[in-house]
Amino acid sequence: MAKTLLCEIVTPERILYTNEVEMVIAPTPDGESGILPLHAPLVTLLAPGELRVRYNDGKDVEWFAVSGGYLQVHEDKVIVLADAAAASSQIDVERARRAKALIEERMKELKERPADVAEEIASCVADLKWCEVQIKVAERRA
């Protein structure tokens, strides 16, 4: 397959990844979307989850953890604008696990309090999800 897509993964802080790839598989709120060359122009939201790209005749796959954001496809260029993203090789699993434990503890504390903490719980849930995604992706490299 000769045709390729240019895939760019951008976070607010920097460009994480650019490469010519054959397929991008992204987590969207309605399930995974696979994007191949010649895809119609598309803008879609991303759900927290695993994003992967395939290249080199599908022999090489790279995994990324994304925490949400959106993705735009236009003329064989895929721009992933992630709130936060990390390549599987760069994830610090220990750190993610520790963060996860801390957040879980905090949530327990919050739930016991009668006060209105819905907002804080929501942000904890999001953080927790992000930690889980990171751990999951990191395990892929093993």
Binding site: T28, V43, L45, Y70, Q72, L81, D83
Partner: protein, 294 residues
């Protein structure tokens, strides 16, 4: 006559001050570069986001969203003041605080209340002195702001605005013009200006048919808060770079001034030394003449 020892002591004190200011100048120069790089690397994200926002806006004509709606009355405005945590950076903080003060007064003149979100220790200490209680404070982030900080600041004004607790939000920060120049500016965050989503139809010619998932409105719903976050993040980054720029200029002039003081002091030291020698000779000559006479 100035005491020789006193002058010498002052010279050495000014010299050590100069050493400190020179070091700070060099540190600031190094930090400007890093801060500038950070601004640069935030640009691709901001640009792509604006592009997508423009695309979406073309599909959602006459978009409505709580963040776009102007509130009929201005009863309460939020002002985010970005200052530094450390001093010795010239008028950097003074400019921000003066602008903030102006905004507060404008709001009060309209009969609205102002609430302040203070970023940086300098804003906190100023507000404390003024007897104003900030609704939120952030410190120790001005040096290395991250997107998470921007998100948390933005989330506050976004939720306050959509719940109707505030009717406008502004950010006051130093725009980084170049390494030697910063300009304190006020930007309106909320309501989001309509120009952002009202795009001219014609000039682009045939436009690509975009698919939106789950729907254009849902994408817009997510994009607008992100737009605000990106604006705040950019302001934080610019402010960090400006702080270093301002510090470098301030420290450079301090170093130059110290050099001048040292030159003047050295001159008066030499003069005093010369005077004391002349004095001694006169005394010796006088003494010898007195001996000869006797």
């Amino acid at each position: 006559m100035p005491n020789l020892r006193d002058i010498k002591r002052r010279i050495s004190s000014v010299q050590s001050t100069r050493q400190i200011t020179r070091t700070m100048e060099m540190v600031a120069t190094a930090k400007i570069k890093k801060a500038q790089e950070r601004i640069e690397s935030a640009r691709p994200y901001a640009l792509s986001m604006m592009e997508v926002l423009g695309n979406v806006a073309r599909y959602v004509q006459g978009a409505t969203h709580p963040l776009l709606e102007e509130h009929p009355e201005r009863k309460r405005v939020a002002i985010i003041a970005l200052t530094s945590d450390r001093g010795l950076c010239g008028a950097f903080n003074a400019n921000i605080l003066r602008l903030t003060e102006g905004l507060i007064r404008d709001a009060e003149a309209e009969g609205a209340e102002a609430e302040i979100i203070a970023v940086g220790k300098k804003a906190l200490s100023y507000l404390k002195y003024r007897g104003v209680e900030p609704v939120a404070e952030y410190r120790d982030i001005s040096d290395k702001p991250t997107f998470a900080h921007a998100r948390s600041i933005a989330a506050q004004v976004i939720s306050a605005y959509s719940e109707g607790r505030i009717d406008a939000a502004y950010v006051v920060f130093n725009r980084f013009k170049n390494v030697a120049e910063q300009k304190a500016e006020v930007h309106q965050l909320l309501p989001i200006e309509r120009t952002v989503v009202d795009v001219d139809e014609e000039p682009l010619g045939p436009r690509p048919e975009y698919l939106f998932e789950p729907s254009p409105a849902a994408v817009l719903e997510k994009l607008l808060p992100m737009y605000v976050e990106t604006l705040v993040y950019r302001a934080l980054l610019e402010s960090a770079a400006s702080e270093q720029g301002a510090r470098r200029v301030a420290m450079k002039s301090a170093t130059d001034n110290a050099g001048e003081i040292i030159t003047t002091l050295t001159r008066s030291y030499n003069r005093a030394r010369q005077a004391s020698i002349t004095n001694e000779i006169a005394e010796i000559v006088g003494g010898a003449a007195a001996l000869e006479e006797s």
